[in-house]
Amino acid sequence: MEILYQSLLLITWKQVLMLIIGGILIWLAIKKEMEPALLLPMGFGAILVNLPLSGAITQIYGGTAEIGIIDVLFNSTIANELLPLLLFIGIGAMIDFGPLLSNPKMLLFGAAAQFGIFMTLSLASLFPQWFTLQDAAAIGIIGAADGPTSIFVANYFGTRYAGAIYVAAYSYMALVPIIQPPVIRAITTRKERLIRMEYVSGSVSKTAKILFPIIITVIAGLAAPRSVSLVGFLMFGNLIRECGVLSRLSETAQNSFANIVTLLLGITISTKMQAEMFISFSTILIMCLGLFAFIFDTVGGVLFAKLINLFLPEGKKINPMVGACGISAFPMSARVVHKMGLKEDPHNFLLMHAVGANVSGQIASVIAGGLIIALVAR
């Protein structure tokens, strides 16, 4: 009978805490509908890998290593960056870059709102006793507000804090509607939030839509060749969408394909949520730094819009809230700003501008990931 309770006697307080954290993630996914497609598999995975002697992860039994399925999945799909990249095909197929092509000025906000990544990298460097420069770079990329990019970069640097980084990236993305509004309100005046922006829906030709992903891939690939797979897979998905002759593939990439990859991604990254690795002071610090990253991203985008406004004539000014959408987190950030605009003035429709800035954030965050890889040696 001892065999039935021997693992219960082996459970540690850290594992109990991880089981609770797993439960909380599942609760957030179901009850609060926060990124349920990822938080639920991650939460369940956290439970799966933190049971004592869990056969889901590699264990030593009687001197022999028994390989766990979660470790097999991790080594064959995430350690080689396969799943994050495949997910980008699905994401690329979901995104309509039309609003950005109509108003390419919005691209600049995508760049400005990556400030949080680099600021957080520097902040994490304040603690060399916990974080190497590579760890700091991996932590900074939480500010990309883009799960696959965070996984890709954290994995590239082989940081031991990968679990905390994944959880922070996905949790804060889900918390964008809570994080961004107070930050935006704190750094804008009501008068600025009331600025109306005229939207001229310039027709974008099919040729432009087809050439766009190819051009982006070439430019980004030339600038940061080591990360060309990131932007390349994103743009490949978009090309499938826009070419007009692969509608079945586009539909598959947007739905079943993206769903299967997401499902596997969530449960597989839970291998990095094993109690011994996850429960530490540095995890708490990473969660705080991740929050800073999102805040500084928002601040960067908004302040950049305010800076541009200094040079624009009355009537052409940009509502600085739109700058905050340069954070990737697509499409939550655009929705948040659109709602904030309507709250200030029920006749102020910022949605299309916000979407333009938001999709540019998607491109810029991937480029930022590539630049971090290029700037920080592995």
């Binding site: 600049l108 760049a111 902040l123 304040l126 310039g202 027709s203 430019i219 930022a368 630049l371 290029a374």
Partner: protein, 40 residues
């Protein structure tokens, strides 16, 4: 807290932000040219 490490990481921030604005600037020009060329 090690401010020396913080200071030594600032050039990465500078190069990173400059790099991203340059790449996005090039993309902006390319998109503007693309729009002009491919007007229907």
């Amino acid at each position: 807290m090690d401010f020396q490490s913080f200071l030594s990481s600032l050039p990465i921030m500078g190069y990173g932000m400059a790099g991203i604005f340059i790449v996005i600037g090039v993309i902006y020009l390319a998109v503007a040219a693309l729009k002009r060329i491919s007007k229907e």
